[in-house]
């Protein structure tokens, strides 16, 4: 009997946590899915009305803007964070004196909440308060940095602040991967006549595919979850030019008494996440039987 328990112990240990995840993640997703098929307004309401909330969702201009923004924001944010993180990692990898110090500078934004990040950049991007005035004061009269105040630029302001916060983390990821690259490969490439630049471009970076994957997964999770940053930096504005789906969902659910539509938008977000994550997880875990 005790032997039986001993043999089942791993399952027993995993069970509470897994049960919690099942309930708090999957249970809630199912709940949300259900609600997204109801006419819930102020409070959840459990009588089904079919896909009407989704129809309404996709007719809303605000939602198209949010989706479009997510696409622009997500792609640019992930690309920029990876490019900058990668660049910094490669540069820091050149036997830099004071590497630890510089690395800390690059990494510290990770520690700061999006609320503070957003607020700080809001101040800096404020045309009359921030950088713009300063630079113009130096004599560069046409300098313009008021991205948050321009409907077309606001989403780039979000990208910039988000990249500011995450690039250091990506840099850390890449740096640690660079450190574990086989030195002989570099020597071999150098003997083969490749310049240092070529060695990075052709050999080292392509061989770090798993790190790129990890970085993309982590960054896309940040992108999809981005909410605080929008609230603090642009407030979704000007107008709703820089809202993201998470903000849309919040606005619908809590401000507009449209819980059904909010739930529908949440389900669309989750489906997006699943579309990225499931293939990734599948390919990651399949080959690791002996893990």
């Amino acid at each position: 009997m005790t032997d039986r328990i001993a043999r089942l112990l791993p399952q027993i240990v995993v069970a509470p946590g897994f049960a919690a995840i099942l309930f708090f993640v999957y249970g809630f997703i199912i709940w949300t899915g259900y609600i997204s098929l109801t006419n819930s307004k102020m409070l959840p309401n459990y009588s089904l009305i079919g896909f009407r909330p989704y129809e309404r969702l996709f007719q809303m201009d605000r939602w198209s803007v949010a989706l479009e923004n997510l696409f622009v924001f997500g792609v640019l944010f992930i690309l920029a964070a990876i490019v900058i993180g990668c660049l910094l990692a490669v540069l820091l990898d050149q036997k830099i004196r004071a590497e630890g110090f510089i690395r800390t500078i690059y990494l510290y934004p990770m520690a700061i909440s999006f609320i503070i990040t957003g607020t700080a950049w809001k101040w800096i991007m404020n045309p009359s308060l921030g950088l713009e005035t300063v630079v113009r004061g130096w004599g560069w009269e046409s300098f313009s940095f008021g991205w948050t105040n321009d409907s077309t630029l606001a989403v780039y302001a979000l990208v910039m602040a988000a990249v500011w916060q995450s690039a250091g983390f990506v840099m850390a990821l890449f740096l640690s991967a660079l450190r574990s690259v086989d030195q002989d490969i570099i020597k071999a490439a150098s003997l083969d006549g490749a310049s240092p630049w070529k060695i990075y471009i052709r050999i080292i970076l392509p061989s770090m595919r798993p790190v790129f994957m990890s970085a993309i997964v982590i960054l896309s999770h940040l992108a999809i979850k981005s909410f605080d940053l929008v609230v603090a930096l642009t407030g979704g504005g000007p107008g709703y030019a820089s809202t993201l789906p998470a903000n849309f969902m919040y606005e619908m659910t809590f401000r507009r008494n449209e819980i059904g539509v909010g739930a529908a938008s949440a389900m669309v977000m989750l489906a997006t996440v699943a579309a990225i994550m499931v293939p990734y997880l599948y390919s990651e875990l399949r080959g690791k039987k002996h893990g």
Partner: protein
């Protein structure tokens, strides 16, 4: 180290130019990263007069910590003029148990999933991992209902529960990826030596885990400390964590916006996480190498 300079024993001339370019880029980025910190710190040390008169980027004329004192112990948040101090301790009281619980849960789960592979372990892991990606706005309403049912709404326990559960997705990822690199033979040897599941965990696995514990703790602490949404939704008034109080404080203005107090408040709020990153950042990078990179 992927050092390329040593490949060119000659050519010191172009090397110098390269080095210069390299440092330029590094410094430009350092400035970019430091700019907000500079603005926030600088402003928090100025008095209002100076803020109004000078530019955002100017150095403070004289260091003036009154804004800090004000934000810490005097500023009004709603009708209570207690400063951030009580909320700071709220956050501490919430973050520490949440970090401990989620780290422990993640460690145990990661250990069971890698070293005692049972049927479906990978599926369980994948399902837990997906929890990382659930936008928190989605779970507020069902979570509120649940907390209400359990009867821990508007308490620190509610927040601890929430953070532990959603944190566990991340910590499990970290620990699992780290434990995959620990040879299974260690567990086998210990099994033959007569150690059981928990003994092996406590005596063998846990002592090997500091690098990843550091990563997990830093990550979790940052996430939990910086959380606004859960804190704002599931607590009110005196029970709120500092991030919410800070937000309230920054939005509590009387006539003139006290930028210096706001910035000081932001700094006080960010201080613990900054401290953790600056002190333990090196271990963070090291732990990343050991763990999640391979994910």
């Amino acid at each position: 180290m992927a050092d390329s300079a040593s490949f060119t024993p000659g050519n010191t001339g172009s090397n110098l130019a390269l080095r210069l370019a390299l440092w330029t880029v590094l410094i430009v980025f350092a400035i970019w990263f430091l700019l907000p910190a500079y603005v926030v710190v600088g402003t928090s040390l100025k008095d209002l007069e100076e803020i109004r008169g000078g530019s955002l980027l100017a150095l403070p004329h004289e260091i003036n910590f009154s804004a800090w004192r004000h934000a810490w112990s005097e500023a009004c948040i709603g009708v209570e003029c207690s400063g951030l101090e009580p909320y700071f301790w709220n956050s501490v009281g919430m973050a520490i148990p949440s970090v401990i619980i989620s780290t422990l849960l993640g460690a145990l789960t990661g250990y069971a999933l890698t070293k005692w592979k049972f049927k479906g372990a990978n599926l369980v892991f994948a399902m837990i991992l997906f929890g990382c990606f659930v936008p928190f706005q989605v779970v507020i309403l069902p979570m509120a209902q649940t907390l209400g049912k359990i009867g821990i709404t508007n308490t620190v326990y509610g927040l601890i529960l929430v953070h532990s559960v959603y944190g566990m997705a991340f910590t499990t990822l970290f620990f699992r990826n780290y434990y995959v690199t620990i040879p299974d033979e260690l567990v086998r040897a210990a099994t033959i030596d007569g150690a059981g599941f928990f003994t092996i965990f406590r005596r063998i696995i846990l002592p090997l885990s500091p690098p990843i514990i550091v990563v997990s703790v830093i990550w979790q602490f940052t996430q939990i400390w910086n959380d606004f949404l859960f804190g704002a939704s599931f607590t009110t008034g005196g029970a709120q964590p500092i991030m919410v109080a800070m937000n309230n404080l920054v939005n509590t203005t009387t006539g003139v916006k006290q930028y210096n107090v706001d910035m000081a408040a932001a700094l006080i709020t960010a201080a613990p996480t900054l401290f953790v990153y600056i002190i333990a950042g090196r271990y963070f990078v090291r732990g990343l190498t050991a763990g999640s990179v391979k994910g």
